[in-house]
Symmetry: C2
């Protein structure tokens, strides 16, 4: 109640906040203030949506003027939890794990890859992106020692559920899964999935339809996830 029972932020909005954040960072040096219209343009959505989304964070804009970029950045970062340090473990150092370990985009937002783990004994001990690959058996210890809350799964599909179970057992409560498998996790653990094959197949679906029917098919320009944008086919 002291916290003013902050309005629950809809999932669709949460998914767009990072995009707004990035857009704000891009113009941070140019302008001190930004309108919903301009921000909408940068983020690829419409202005009404921007205003509604930002209103869930609170009334941080000034009517007739716009939003203060600095302040909005701060509030948004805080809301997204980016003001804190998030140690991350990557499990499965194949091609993708390798790429993720070397991905620079992490650090900027408070995410830091602090451990790499793989079940393959021939990989254990090797250095990747400045870290040494540790055996899967040490996962629990590693997670606890570093107080890791976020785990990334980049293993083959077959191993993914086992890894997820181990991560959960070790106390991890957020999982990002790149393995093409449906994982089940207990309540209290959030998990998101990134699936390359699924994305391609969705594209294929639309591509195929396009070829088949000369008939126009209207597609919406975004999903609840904000990860998609379609243009209209005609």
């Amino acid at each position: 109640m002291t916290e003013r029972a902050r309005r629950r932020i809809p999932d669709a909005t949460v998914a767009r906040l990072p995009v707004y954040l990035r857009s704000l960072l891009e113009i941070e040096s140019d302008s001190t203030t930004v309108s919903s219209e301009r921000l909408a343009e940068l983020a690829g959505v419409n202005a009404a949506k921007v205003r509604k989304d930002l209103s869930y964070l609170g009334s941080y804009g000034t009517r007739g003027v716009g939003y203060d970029v600095e302040y909005l950045l701060f509030q948004m970062s805080r809301e997204l939890g980016l003001t804190q340090h998030w140690p991350v473990v990557i499990v499965g150092i194949g091609n993708l794990g390798h790429a993720l370990a070397n991905y620079g985009g992490f650090g900027a937002s408070g995410f830091h890859v602090v451990a790499l783990v793989d079940a393959d004994p021939t990989k254990v001990g090797k250095q990747v992106a400045g870290s040494e690959i540790r055996p899967l058996t040490e996962l629990d210890e590693i997670v606890r020692a570093n107080e890791i809350a976020i785990g990334i799964i980049a293993t083959p599909a077959i191993a993914a559920q086992d890894v997820a179970d181990r991560l959960v057992a070790a106390g991890i409560t957020s999982i990002l899964n790149f393995a093409p498998a449906v994982l089940t996790v207990p309540k209290g653990v959030s998990m998101r999935k990134v699936d390359l094959a699924v994305e391609l197949q969705i594209l294929s679906f639309h591509q195929q339809r396009r070829g088949a029917a000369s008939q126009g098919v209207a597609l919406p320009d975004g999903t609840a996830d904000g990860t998609t944008s379609f243009a209209t086919v005609d």
Copy 2:
């Protein structure tokens, strides 16, 4: 009318079809028939959703029995356009592009990486995953020569829009974008986005909330995209 004006398949359903497809492939060798309940369990959704989704494809089930796995697989593959050959070009052969080029999951579904392109002259000519990296300037020629319809962007954010424009100019109508940037494409081009940082930030949001409020926050167990599943926090 002959084509029975096929019901438009909702986006949310399209996004789940690949998941069903994968689930079916897993049980293909075990059972000839599958119930909506079983399929729901494998795909991590609920049974009613499975039935509704499948109903958009047509009435392929048998009441009291279930769905014929083989037949469903065939229909679904056809619907998703996986019965055809899809040549794919990857632009940007950094860590991620490298990983994507080596990713095996493509071939199984009709996707084939037929060309790798990078703007960096020091990378051009090198062999990656059996293909030679070609210069960005040859993109147009490559796309036309191989009749490529799908392009994957794995460049830094700054280059992404330019690459997208080139892809579109070359005649590509489906783009999968891994660069952390909002791209605009003309009507008639579909584009999907996979953004690592966004995913992490969404996880961070929930993780952060969890820590802040001892108050329970209920999260839905899936989005329109089917790429997410959350458990409830308490």
